[in-house]
Amino acid sequence: MTLNQALALINSRKGNRGNAVYSLACGFEPLHLATLLRAHLLERLPGDGNVEVQSGVYGDLRGNIESAARTAATACAVVLEWSDLDPRLGLRSSGGWSNEAKADLIANCIERYARLEAAIVALAGRMPVALAPPSLPLPPIGNTIRAQSSVLELELEQQLARFLLPVARVSGVRVVERSRIEAPVAALDARMELIAGFPYTIPFANSLAASLVDVICQPAPKKGLITDLDGTLWSGIAGEMGVEGLSWSQEHHTQTHGLYQQMLGHLAGCGVLLAACSKNEMTTAEAALARKDLFLNAESLFPVCANWGPKSASVGRILDTWNIAADAVVFVDDSPMELDEVQRAYPGMTCLAFPGKDPAAVWNLLGRLRDLFGKPELMEEDRLRQSSIRASAQVREMAAQGGSAEFLRTLEGTVTLAWQVDQADKRPLELINKTNQFNLNGLRLGESEWQRLLGRNDTIVAVASYQDKFGPLGKIAVLVGSQAGRKVRVSHWVMSCRAFSRRIEHHMLDSLFRHCDAEEIAFAFANTEKNQPLREFFAAVGVSPDAEGAYRILRSGFVDGRGALPHEVSNLTE
């Protein structure tokens, strides 16, 4: 995007309603970076609303970060440059580059990093932070030729890495990968830096703005990957050449399949659901997956569907087992025909070809998979997802067959309700923002809105965790509301699809009545394309619209209609 294109886009939205506010914290004049950041945000955000980018004062990065933390911005882009650590590392200083000055600036940077870290940690407690490390070159103060790194430069880079590592571990902080800022020209515009205090060429500022927006506005990660077997997970056709004839190694010139297996193993470790869908005899597929030299734990593929029917039918069964929507799933196959058949059946699914004979294309595919499944931070629930999916499928199947509270009691389940939320815990907000099926109204919340909600005296929040004899599911549901007298109004209520069929939602409502000593609960319900499971629950327990269209339930009505509650409940109020 050019500067003029960015300005034209901003002008085209002038006067539009729906201002989303973002912060840009930098130590230089924000100028074109602020313009380009705003334009990329406008391009990325849905609808034709407007965006405001707030920035601070020249020369005070830390102060600008602290100011941003006092705003209600949706997110903040923090752009660090060497001159923010010590002005002598920029072009506008006359502090000198003597040996004494160099020793001093090394010491100075350590102190500046510590202060910046404290400010960024505080900011990340308020809103998501995209942190861009320095992009500009250091001044030519090394004793070596430019092609050779000097000790001084390496020391400064080491200090930077020591700063970034703990900061990247802070929940809410997302560090921009410098090597991914793809600009057609160098970053530094020395002329503009001296004229206006803006250090970047416009093409570089555009690339930096795009990267910052990529990091701030990340799409919801996909949840599951369905892989083909023959020609994809391995080279060869199991039914024709036998299990021992299959290969996925460098030795057999089929390492691209080995790389793909390793990628799937990595994704499984990040909590991505994996399943196999193959036109094969089940016994053949099982025998191949039992090979000990697979680079992937075959147990992480669940379910495995091997048959001679259309793949779309197998994919449908896998989606039912996982209980997730097609648009949260990636399907990988080496056959264009199979990809087309599945894509036609599930237009929302991401269907990708496995180009096994083209190493460069496979490498690109692995990068694409990283982008499709990548998320800002991993949580305990991600680790649990893989192990709980088999149990969840089993529970749903048994509940569907028997459907009784008697069966559910055999699970020996415990629902733990936390009525106080740790503000640093990102899981409740993640649930609110990614859950579709059991979702009261589909309303999403920004980090700062969430923090404000938690700070209100009348807010009620319940975070439910669950475990049974099959193991823990982690935090799987969140309910948010407010109380006035003996009436409670629920504004948000979501539950992970992994927790369905266990009557956890019945326990939550029962506990809400008890915890608040409420006589009536009203719900800010809205029909969405996907919240059928919540509507079914409402119908089952008797939540229905009154004459004014408000969804309510009385305690007496709920107690009569809820049925038996099968689990132990533990309430945490501290």
């Binding site: 050019t2 003029n4 300005l7 002008n11 004049e29 074109h32 002329r191 503009m192 206006a196």
Partner: protein, 80 residues
């Protein structure tokens, strides 16, 4: 209006979206309310991008009206 004038006028309209078309020909740092130092950098950067050139420090200081900018670009183009 020739091509240079039109292109400069378009940059003015992009950077100062509230300016009226009939005000552009006489626009200067004194006459346009929003033309401060930041807007000046944005305006000259917009024009530099449009014409594929760079202004030096002295030009940044001196090109403070529509007329001066058009005159500079036409002279530059005639010499160029």
């Amino acid at each position: 209006m020739n091509d240079t004038k039109e292109r400069v006028a378009r940059c003015f309209a992009t950077v100062f979206p509230d300016i009226r078309q009939d005000e552009i020909a006489t626009a200067s740092m004194e006459s346009v309310a929003g033309w401060d130092s930041v807007a000046h950098v944005i305006l000259l950067s917009s024009i530099a991008e449009e014409f594929g050139l760079n202004f030096d420090l002295e030009e940044f200081r001196s090109l403070v009206s529509y007329a001066l900018i058009v005159d500079f670009l036409e002279r530059n183009s005639a010499h160029g």
